[in-house]
């Protein structure tokens, strides 16, 4: 059950592109045609599914506070978490190279369709972001880390597929000249993100349960606090 929940949550509610803006660079650059978008999207799913569980293991057994305890009790106070950026990115870069070599060896046809995108992916924020969010959200088990990786990959895939399809169509409409190309893509993405926000109530059934996500939510909480204060202030005034 928690697998299914995390899976849908990472696809829709915490969608990489629309909720956290990860992987925007390649999302904007490679979304001119549906066919290439599908290739890149598939490569992202694949690499996320490999790197997130791998980095989970690294985090759990090497980087976390006290993670080295398996080496012996004298290692219990070591906290290597400041190294996580460098370890994660090194893992990702090597995995991407490795995946590229393996795919080239065993499936030349897959390599031809995915291959050109693989080097691009090492520097895709979505991949590193997947690992960093996995760490900051404290995903409890290896299986869930895999689910999270695949789910966020599929979310990213959906996003790039949707925008590529829209951009193919929009070529036939008359966009104001200054907005053509990049400008209108930004605005469409913004509108799509607004649409994706409506998935927020999908799992909680409309509860106002705070999502453990990035900066925007923090701000929203602040605003809610402010509004509450406002209401209290109003009421106290009235009573007086």
């Amino acid at each position: 059950m928690e697998h299914i929940e995390l899976f849908f949550k990472s696809i829709f509610i915490d969608n990489m592109v629309f909720a956290t803006f990860l992987g925007m660079c390649s999302y904007l650059a490679v979304s001119k045609k549906v066919a290439t978008a599908v290739g890149l999207g598939a490569a992202v799913i694949f690499v996320l599914a490999v790197t997130v569980p791998l980095n989970w293991l690294l985090d759990q057994y090497i980087l976390k506070d006290g993670a080295l305890v398996w080496l012996g009790p004298e290692y219990a106070d070591y906290d290597l978490s400041f190294l996580s950026f460098i370890m994660f990115i090194a893992t990702i870069a090597t995995m991407v190279q490795l995946v590229e070599i393996i795919v080239e060896k065993f499936s030349p046809s897959l390599y031809n369709s995915l291959g050109i995108f693989l080097p691009l992916i090492a520097v895709n924020c979505a991949i590193l972001g997947g690992s960093l969010f996995m760490q900051s959200r404290e995903i409890p088990s290896l299986g869930l880390a895999l689910t999270y990786g695949v789910g966020s990959g599929i979310g990213w895939f959906l996003a790039i597929l949707a925008i590529a399809a829209i951009r193919e169509k929009i070529r036939y409409s008359s966009v104001p000249p200054a907005l053509r190309g990049l400008g209108i893509t930004f605005i469409i993405t913004g509108l799509m993100a607004i649409g994706f926000m409506s998935f927020g109530g999908m799992l909680t059934g409309g509860d106002e349960e705070a999502k453990p996500a990035a900066a925007p939510e923090v701000v929203i909480e602040k605003v809610q606090e402010k509004v509450e204060k406002e209401v209290i202030a109003k009421n106290t005034k009235r009573i007086q």
Partner: protein, 215 residues
């Protein structure tokens, strides 16, 4: 500018407008948008990128003759990651609250496409001083957009700038709020960042029509 030759000065000024990394080159948007709900976070992010890009460009440029081209991506990533760890630790030590707000987005400077883009396109082929200028120019160009977006989102979204209530107090109903102005809470939500950047692009391209793309 006595200190800089014309060519060097162009390295600094070009990325500010006509070759802006965000609005023209479409790089580095990933981390740019998520943290612009507050002006303070935008400024900190801009300064962090300035530090990483300026220094990273110099380091890569100094090493450009000894990096084997096959593994250059990994070398570049390691250099950026080291610099970003420094930024992250400094933020955690001196501005803990802010580093919580920025959360993973400090780490994501590593994969900020501007940084890799400048390393690949400039630092690998130029000397350290020019690479430094190029890094500073691009980071400032990035920062300008970030701060502009942060400015509008915080001003319209919560009526404050850097936490100061510039539009009056919404509780006490002073300033603009006295005549019925309300904050647009929607500006604080993430989709508006995209739309604000879209509008900035629109304004820039209407002023300089040579930048308009053919679909």
């Amino acid at each position: 500018m006595g200190l800089l030759s014309k060519r060097d000065a162009a390295l600094l000024t070009d990325p500010l407008a006509d070759n802006n990394p965000i609005t023209i080159q479409v790089l580095g948007i990933c981390s740019a948008l998520a943290i612009t709900a507050e002006l303070k976070a935008s400024i900190v992010m801009a300064v962090s990128v300035l530090f990483v890009l300026g220094l990273g460009n110099v380091v890569i440029s100094l090493m450009r003759n000894i990096i084997p081209s096959k593994i250059r991506i990994i070398v570049q990533l390691i250099v950026v990651a080291t610099l970003v760890i420094i930024v992250d630790l400094v933020l955690k030590a001196f501005a803990y609250e802010l580093s919580k707000t920025l959360s993973v987005f400090v780490g994501l400077i590593i994969t900020n496409c501007i940084i890799m883009g400048r390393f690949e396109a400039f630092a690998l082929g130029n000397g350290p001083w020019r690479a430094f200028l190029d890094g500073i120019g691009n980071a400032v160009g990035y920062g300008v957009i970030l701060i502009a977006v942060g400015f509008f989102r915080e001003l319209l979204g919560s009526g404050t700038l850097l936490g100061f209530k510039v539009l009056g107090d919404p509780i006490e109903k002073t300033g603009l709020y006295a005549i019925g102005y309300e904050n647009n809470g929607f500006m604080l939500l993430s989709p508006m960042a995209l739309i604000v950047v879209g509008i900035l692009i629109w304004i820039q391209r209407s002023r300089n029509t040579s930048l308009i793309e053919e679909n």
